[in-house]
């Protein structure tokens, strides 16, 4: 496999699932590899573009912090400047990647130097209008730079507000296809500049004019997002009476040239210009008049949509009643135009329902029919069976609204048509329509009933038809139950659903016994179970049927658990039925029959249990026991209902409750004294003989598990805000998971109890790294509350930093410092000579700041010092990282700087070591040199 193939695979894997990909590595390492490879001269542009794509799509995953972002952007910038001019596509991609990194890691928002330099470079790039300097081959770079600036202006509105004159000139000069990019960049800058000015209390003519004449630096502002003006209640406006002559001529020119833009860019431009006119009272909406006819006739959905935006913003100050009427007819026509695509037509129908009328009756944002849409106008949108399902449903919904509001005569005809249409759909369902047709038809039924359930005659007819269809196609049971449920939820009056269910019950009763095959029976039982929930429906027939079927078939002998359970599910709902006393004897007979005759012990037991409940408890108590209390109550009740066979009951009662809140948390115990290796080695005496300490040291690792674990100590406490319900929790089981696979699985930890008012218990988490990288530990807790309920809660992630994995040299505590030093020197030498392969050395320098070096060493390296020759300003430090990595530091203080030589037997640790050292020497100035 070539390098290119390998990268191809890795990048695809990363893009498909960054979390899975990084589970075997870390983002630091991957980023370092990417940047390293991008500097490799031997690989071609295509591969480099692929590498950049990782940064282009997931900058925040690869650069989790602003500082990493800034460093990465710097790296990329240097790659950018070293890339030859002919690699134009690569340069464009790197340019985009830098912009992405800068924006997404908030380098732009926090106004870093890097962002500023980058903006300067971009602005410089776009100065080369008409490619005078760099030639036409560099045009794509300029286009990309324009777009990068536009994105930066969008994310930090006003950034270009002091550069508008310069941008205007560039826009005027450019005559190649790129003038579009300049044009929309300028317009965006103009719109944002005016928007910012509207925040000012008073605006003078001078201030207003200086916007257009701005030719200064970038304006850094606090980050804020500007919503489009149709999303804000009060459109911000400049004061009246400003001199708008210059702005007006600029606007006219922009509109005149808008024709030269692609439709999508034209629509963006129009929207920006509409916002400008809306914010400047001195500009009249009639500016747009010259464009209206062109826009009215357009086949482009973007331009039609922009026109509607204009209509929404300016209403009758730009659009006459005649225009409004025309536009609406146009929309209706477009919503069924044979040459437009389905998504566009659906969108146009949506636009009709949210049509910006000049004189709207309501402005709720809900679907609402414009007054001008009459049944006559909408007739062409009547649904037919030839429509695809989305179009049909969309039309049906629209036409239901039309006829709901129409005058009587017209409405009757229209509703009759819609009803016939529903019947035609049901006819197709009846002749074995596919699943898609069935689903669509039930959706259509739902829409129709939602609007016309009050028309009794029609809804009765529908029930008859559905009953009729069910008698032939009982596989429709879930669809019918779903329809009954949804209609009941959506209408206040449940009567239609009750009627439907009663009809279905009757239909099942009347079925000839031959049709009651096992397969059909399971559907019928589902329906009967649902019917049994309705207090208004008498259940005697259901019970007779069940008894009849059980007695007159071999079901009991066959003893299928599923069927038995389905029968019991019906019985369970029957037990709760309010008029149970009317069928008490029958139900008791049924349950007894099952408990004696059904050939399955589990079913028998359950039936007997139900029988006992039925015969021993009053209805009130019975329903109390059976009620699925969502909010609990006492633990005892729940345990009763949990025994019920009814599957949903079991599911909801045995399920562990979930809480979205963090109930508990782990707080690190700060002192590190007790950190130790897992096993203490036997006492080694320094006999002073020439024992080879290194051998002794290395021999230890023959013992399995030696030095492989780090123990981190935490307190398990309550998270700050929790419910009093969780003040006392018991039997806590903590379950851990890593976001990556650099560590062995941590086994669950059990804690007896956590009380809010007591000392928090200590939890020792033992980590066993495969790779000693920083990581994040996700964990969850299962516990019981005082009321007996079990809970599951996700707890806040615990991040484990690099220094937390440090251990002192795992050698006997009583070994002399000479022994330690001997081991240190040996490891150092072999690392320096490149043994093992992954060894590396490196150098890190810094100037000690206010804190003296000795203090620094005391705070951070105390437990890891091998030699401390403070007098000679020389220290040796060793970090042991399980399973068997070493990081060795030799610290020397020269005159003006401190040198830290680093040696390690695993070069992959170097980035972490560097950032660790940088971190602890944060106050000092540092330089890093790679080894």
């Amino acid at each position: 496999m070539t390098i290119a193939d390998l990268w191809d695979q890795r990048i695809s894997a990363f893009l498909l699932s960054p979390s899975q990909f990084l589970a075997t590595s870390t983002s630091e390492i991957f980023l370092a590899e990417l940047l390293h490879e991008l500097r490799n001269d031997k690989i071609n542009d295509q591969l480099k573009i692929l590498l950049v794509s990782a940064l282009l799509e997931h900058p925040t995953i690869l650069c989790p912090s602003a500082s990493v972002g800034e460093e990465t952007a710097l790296e990329l910038l240097s790659i950018f400047s070293q890339t030859p001019q002919k690699s134009i596509s690569l340069k464009c991609n790197v340019m985009l990647a830098i912009t992405n990194v800068i924006i997404c890691t908030s380098c732009l928002a926090t106004h870093t130097k890097m962002a500023e330099d980058w903006l300067d470079l971009l602005f410089q790039t776009i100065q080369d209008t008409n490619d005078y300097r760099c030639g036409q081959s560099q045009q794509p770079l300029r286009a990309t730079a324009c777009d990068c600036l536009r994105e930066m202006e969008t994310c930090s509105p006003g950034l270009l507000s002091q550069k508008l004159e310069a941008l205007y000139l560039l826009k005027q000069q450019e005559t190649s296809v790129l003038h579009q990019s300049y044009c929309i960049l300028y317009t965006l800058g103009l719109k944002n500049a005016i928007r910012i000015l509207t925040n000012q209390k008073e605006v003078t003519d001078f201030e207003f004019k200086s916007i257009l004449g701005g030719n200064e630096g970038f304006a850094w502002r606090t980050n804020q997002n500007f919503l489009p003006i149709n999303m804000i209640v009060q459109v911000p406006q400049l004061p009246q009476g400003l001199d708008c002559k210059e702005l007006k001529s600029i606007m006219s020119l922009l509109l005149e040239e808008s024709y030269l833009l692609t439709p999508i860019s034209q629509s963006s431009l129009m929207r920006d210009l509409v916002e400008v006119v809306a914010m400047v009272p001195g500009l009249s909406p009639t500016l747009f008049k010259s464009q209206l006819l062109r826009l009215f006739g357009t086949a482009e959905v973007v331009l039609m949509h922009a026109t509607l935006f204009m209509k929404d913003t300016f209403t009758d100050s730009l659009f006459t009643a005649e225009d409004e009427n025309f536009l609406l007819k146009r929309l209706v026509g477009s919503a069924q135009h044979p040459l437009l695509r389905i998504p566009e037509k659906l969108f146009y129908m949506d636009c009709i329902l949210h049509f910006p009328e000049n004189r709207p009756i309501s402005s709720s944002g809900e679907e609402c029919l414009p007054v001008l849409v009459t049944p006559r106008l909408a007739a062409s949108l009547l649904p037919t069976v030839f429509n695809d399902s989305a179009t049909m449903l969309c039309r049906l919904n629209l036409l239901c609204l039309v006829h709901l509001e129409a005058d009587e005569g017209e409405a009757d005809k229209g509703i009759a048509y819609l009803f016939d249409h529903i019947m035609a759909l049901l006819k197709i369902v009846d002749s074995d329509g596919s699943r898609e047709v069935v689903v669509t038809s039930f959706r259509a039924l739902f829409i129709f009933l939602k609007h016309f359930n009050g028309m009794e005659e029609l809804s009765e007819k529908l029930i008859d038809k559905l009953r009729d269809i069910y008698s032939r196609h009982c596989r429709l049971a879930p669809n019918l139950i779903g329809l009954a449920d949804r209609i009941q939820e959506c209408l206040d009056d449940p009567i239609w659903s009750v009627k439907l269910l009663r009809g279905l019950q009757k239909c099942i009763m009347e079925m000839p016994p031959l049709q009651l095959t096992i397969h059909n029976l399971s559907w019928h039982l589902k329906v009967l179970k649902r019917v049994a929930k309705e207090g208004q429906i008498t259940q005697r027939n259901t019970i007779y049927l069940l008894l009849n079927v059980l007695i007159n078939s071999n079901l009991c002998e066959r003893g299928k658990w599923q069927i038995g359970n389905a029968v019991l599910a019906v019985c369970r709902n029957l037990l709760e039925h309010p008029s149970i006393d009317q069928v008490f004897i029958e139900l008791a007979d049924l349950l007894q029959y099952i408990s004696v005759n059904y050939n399955d012990t589990d079913i028998k037991d359950h039936a007997r249990f139900y029988y006992t409940l039925l015969t021993n408890l009053s209805w009130e108590k019975l329903t109390g026991v059976l009620a699925k209390g969502p909010d609990g109550g006492r633990a005892k009740e729940r345990s009763h209902s949990a025994i019920m066979a009814e599957s949903e009951g079991i599911a909801s009662n045995l399920t562990v409750c979930k809480t979205e809140r963090h109930v508990l948390q782990l707080i690190k115990i700060q002192d590190k004294v007790s950190q130790s290796t897992s096993e203490s080695s036997e006492s080694l005496e320094d006999t002073g003989e020439a024992r080879n300490w290194l051998e002794v040291y290395q021999e230890q690792f023959q013992t399995p598990g030696f030095g492989s674990e780090v123990t981190l100590r935490y307190n398990l406490t309550h998270a700050e805000e929790t419910d009093p319900l969780f003040d006392r929790v018991f039997s806590i089981c903590l379950h851990f998971e890593f976001k990556d696979s650099n560590y062995a699985k941590v086994s669950d930890i059990h804690v007896p109890c956590v009380f809010r008012d007591r000392k928090p218990p200590e939890v020792n988490v033992q980590l066993k790294p495969f790779q000693p990288y920083p990581t994040t530990l996700c964990f969850s807790a299962m516990f019981t509350t005082q009321d007996g309920r079990s809970w599951h809660s996700q707890l806040p992630d615990v991040s484990i930093s690099f220094p937390e994995i440090f251990l002192p040299l795992p050698i006997a505590t009583n070994a002399s410092s000479a022994c330690r030093e001997q081991v240190f020197d040996h490891i150092w030498e072999s690392a320096a000579s490149g043994n093992p392969d992954k060894s590396a050395i490196s150098l890190f320098c810094f100037k000690p700041g206010d804190e003296s070096l000795a203090d620094l060493i005391k705070t951070h390296f105390q437990g890891y010092l091998i030699t401390d020759q403070q007098s000679e300003r020389f220290w040796k430090v060793l970090f042991f990282l399980p399973p068997m990595c070493h990081v060795l530091l030799r610290i020397t203080q020269a005159e003006d700087a401190v040198q830290v030589s680093i040696a390690t037997d695993n070069w992959e640790l170097l980035p972490f070591v560097n950032s660790y050292l940088r971190n602890i020497t944060d106050d000092c100035s540092t330089t890093v040199t790679d080894g």
Binding site: C155, P263, I264, P375, S380, L382, S389
Partner: protein, 492 residues
């Protein structure tokens, strides 16, 4: 006005979906996050996208008759935007995901919602939605071409070219243009000459070489004929004018004029290409959803424009014509163990009797396979496709002198093998479908006169104009059976 992410997903029957291409726009995501605040829903990783999309589009678990999240009747699929239910985020949903399905390909994008996070804004209030729709349409044409279903290797190479296309048309999630349609790359193009005139952004260069302007007018006629007094027959036509202008200059001016014969009914629902520079208001007044006004403008229809380099749709229209070109009647009767068939087709006298092809297809659904077929035709030939249960009556290039042709006879269904099924055509509900093409004819009478094409340029171009009439959804229903309603117009 941006999109957060873009996907191309393929799903072969019986397999789980696969992401063929995806692109995220992190700076847009950055804005989405700050706009939505605590309501922010992150875009899930690509590995879970296909399953989410397919569930929402009802394409998962084809073997299960009913799945709650897929088939719930209150879950309405009547918008161009769907919402994806994200697992494990407390029932949060990703909205609005725009989708376009073509064959086994699903194209989807997630436009940015530039609005306060609650309540959910209506779709038409979001600028990015129409841009997303336009972008997906362009992407569809780019990937699938005009043919509809590209070969796997062609598709793969187009997907491979997509990153560089996106670099040009949508580098940071804000579409500047749509992907260029594949297969329409113009031949002789020179770079823009520079100079004072700004180059249109939709035109990469200028044409060099011989000047040719071709204008092709295609009319499609649809019809539903029932042969019953209780049900009115319907028909309509819609026309498309396609242009290819190879003319020199940065912004050359061309004018195409459509004319109607005297008394011709006005062209309605005219939609024009964005390159048309100006329009007369009267051109747009006629609308098919309106009551027809006899005094309406009926031409000439002038379209001044400056052409792009590639072939483009200059304009389209619909028209109400007084008569259908072919009037048919279909009678199907069930007798003992066979069906008696009688079809009569009459060519209207105003229609030129010169077809490129003309065929009538007579399918039989929900029957066993055909056995013996005893059918005679008065003109043309009959082909029998037993495995498809289909009679194809090839009428050829001409109707007989009488302009009437008949088909008569009986069809027996034997054997036990069932033929093709159709939930609509049960019992005696059956149709004949016509396929024909007549060159050099339009039903509306609309035409583009070669001399009316004006080109303002130094070189005199060669001008080619053509017109044709093609059938589309031309059905004749059995008058002895029930026929489904195909338009609400005639009923109200």
């Amino acid at each position: 006005m941006s999109i957060r992410a873009l996907w191309v997903v393929s799903h072969e029957k019986g397999e789980s979906g696969k992401v063929r291409f995806s692109r995220r726009f992190p700076t847009v995501e950055f804005r989405a996050k700050s706009l939505a605040g605590s309501h922010y829903v992150a875009v899930p990783e690509d590995r879970v996208i296909p399953q989410l999309l397919l569930t929402e589009l009802g394409l998962v678990d084809a073997d299960k008759p009913y799945v709650d999240i897929r088939d719930d009747c209150a879950h309405q699929h009547r918008s161009p935007a769907v919402e994806l239910l994200i697992d494990g985020q407390g029932g949060k949903t990703l909205w609005p995901v725009l989708t376009v399905t073509q064959g086994t390909l699903i194209l989807a994008c997630l436009p940015l919602v530039e609005a306060p996070p609650e309540p959910r804004p209506p779709l038409p209030s979001l600028a990015s939605v129409s841009q997303g729709l336009a972008f997906l349409s362009g992407l569809q044409d780019f990937l699938c071409g005009s043919g509809g279903k590209p070969e796997p290797d062609v598709l793969a190479s187009r997907l491979g070219a997509l990153p560089s296309v996106l670099l040009q048309v949508c580098p940071l999630g804000r579409p500047l243009d749509i992907p260029p349609p594949s297969g329409l790359v113009p031949s002789a193009v020179a770079p823009s000459p520079g100079g004072a005139q700004k180059q249109p952004a939709w035109k990469a260069g200028v044409h060099r070489g011989r000047a040719v302007v071709s204008v092709a007018l295609t009319e499609k006629v649809r019809s539903m004929q029932y042969g019953k007094s209780s049900r009115q027959d319907i028909w309509d036509v819609y026309g498309v004018v396609m242009c290819k202008c190879e003319v020199e200059g940065v912004l050359p001016n061309v004018t195409v004029t459509l004319t109607l014969p005297p008394n011709g009914s006005p062209l309605q629902d005219i939609l024009v290409h964005p390159c048309v520079t100006s329009l007369d208001a009267s051109i747009l007044t006629a609308c098919s959803v309106d009551e027809n006004d006899g005094s309406a403008f009926s031409g000439p229809y002038k379209f001044p424009f400056s052409p792009p380099l590639e072939l483009f749709r200059l304009c389209s229209y619909t028209s109400q014509v007084p008569v259908p070109p072919i009037l048919g009647s279909y009678q199907l009767k069930a007798e003992e163990n066979h069906l008696k068939v009688n079809v009569v087709l009459k060519l209207h006298e105003s229609v030129k009797n010169s077809f490129e092809y003309c065929e009538a297809h007579i399918p039989f659904f929900n029957q066993n396979l055909m056995g013996s077929v005893e059918v005679k035709v008065s003109s043309g030939q009959l082909e029998v496709s037993k495995e498809k249960n289909l009679l194809v009556w090839v009428l050829g290039q001409k109707f007989p002198k009488s302009r009437e042709a008949t088909l008569e006879g009986s069809v027996h269904f034997s054997g036990t093998v069932t033929g093709p099924s159709d939930p609509l055509c049960t019992g005696l509900t059956a149709y004949v479908k016509l396929y024909f093409r007549v060159p050099d004819l339009t039903l509306s009478g609309c035409c583009v006169d070669q001399h009316s094409v004006q080109v303002y340029s130094s070189a005199k171009p060669r001008i080619v104009t053509t017109r044709e009439l093609v059938s589309s959804e031309y059905y004749i229903w059995n008058s002895t059976g029930d026929a489904p309603v195909s338009s609400g117009y005639t009923v109200l």
